[in-house]
């Protein structure tokens, strides 16, 4: 147990240093990209990994929900709930960073571009997940309804995150891995972006494990009170 804890401690510090290096690299190692206003292209090193983490979190929630329906174990319900909440948090962050970028590059915080509309759908869909959870009092019923909903909700994610931006004309910059499956990015920028994707994924794993632990303790204490 203690060796596991110290390993976690080491990983946490590695993550801390890694993210620190990425933030530094995003501003000082990678060059500003051509065609962008000023230094605004640097938001890509944060906006894209944030959006990726949101997608990853929704996937984790979907997998945990499928597991819950098979095992009926409350530990899986905790996983699904925590992953959904992190997904929603990161989706909100992606929306905010995107909106700031839109203001700088396009000239408007919000104009219902297909990208903006699709993220709104996504936010509403996962906000409804928590509304559903809040509406059901019985824990087991809540868990199974939420699990079914989470699976259904995830069906929309590939559409909203990957299909929509590739069908509609949008003001959004071209996706980095585009229809021709070619990476259109300078090598230094690509290195930083990849490093950031790894860093943010690590950040997600850390937040997820900590939040799961907290949620388990919270539920246990609630039961003790009852």
């Amino acid at each position: 147990m203690s060796s596991r804890r110290s390993r976690g401690e080491v990983l946490k510090w590695i993550l801390f240093v890694w993210i620190g290096v990425i933030i530094w690299a995003a501003f000082f190692y990678a060059p500003a990209a051509a065609g962008f206003k000023g230094q605004s292209s640097r938001i890509v090193f944060f906006h894209v990994p944030i959006a990726w983490v949101a997608t990853l979190a929704f996937l984790v929630s979907c997998v945990a929900s499928i597991r819950y329906l098979r095992t009926r174990s409350m530990a899986d319900d905790v996983r699904a709930e925590v992953a959904s909440s992190l997904g929603l948090l990161f989706a909100i962050l992606a929306t905010v960073t995107g909106s700031i970028f839109a203001r700088i590059m396009w000239g408007s915080y919000w104009n219902w571009d297909p990208r903006e509309t699709s993220i709104t759908f996504l936010l509403l869909i996962y906000a409804a997940y928590f509304a559903l959870r809040a509406a059901v009092a019985d824990p087991e019923r809540r868990a199974s309804l939420a699990a079914v909903y989470s699976i259904l909700a995830f069906v929309t994610v590939p559409f909203l995150v990957f299909v929509v931006p590739r069908i509609y004309w949008s003001l959004h910059p071209d996706t980095i891995i585009n229809a021709q499956a070619k990476i259109k990015m300078g090598s230094r920028m690509f290195e930083v972006l990849m490093g950031s994707l790894v860093g943010f994924s690590g950040l997600f794993v850390w937040l997820y494990t900590v939040a799961c632990r907290i949620e388990r303790i919270r539920r246990r204490r609630q039961q003790e009170v009852l």
């Binding site: 060059p31 500003a32 065609g35 206003k37 396009w106 000239g107 104009n111 559409f159």
Partner: protein
């Protein structure tokens, strides 16, 4: 008592059907509702405020400095052109713009834009001259 295994299988089937129905519904209903950009034809026939996206026609723009009036043409995929008039401050990156979204209404042969959004041909490549970036 019902056989729990059969009941479970039934639920899997119902779940699967719902999932497919949901995908189909999603795919069809999103298609028309997701984009705010209307075609040139729709913009010209209606009098509502709309958003129109198009390619900026090179060399078609002129700017009257005193009146703050910008005039240019945008072109759609079929090569049709539309004249746009915009009153206001010219966006800083207008000169580099490749594609433009104009928000406003059409009347009397031109599109009167109240707002303009600019899409620049941005690429995630460093600037040509490295010296140009180090001015922080």
């Amino acid at each position: 008592m019902k056989d729990p295994k059969r009941q479970r299988q039934l639920w899997y089937v119902i779940g699967g059907v719902l999932l497919i129905a949901f995908i189909a519904f999603g795919a069809t209903s999103f298609k028309s509702n997701l984009t705010p950009y209307v075609s040139f034809g729709d913009a010209m026939s209606g009098h509502r405020q709309v958003q129109v996206a198009g390619e900026l026609v090179r060399g078609s723009s002129s700017f009257v400095k005193g009146a703050n009036e910008l005039s240019f043409m945008i072109m759609n995929k079929h090569g049709e052109k539309m004249r746009v008039l915009y009153k206001g401050v010219k966006p800083g990156n207008f000169e580099d713009a490749k594609e433009i979204v104009v928000i406003g209404r059409y009347h009397n042969g031109a599109f009167y834009a109240t707002q303009m959004l600019v899409k620049c041909p941005s690429k995630y490549q460093g600037l040509e001259k490295p010296g140009a970036t180090s001015g922080s």
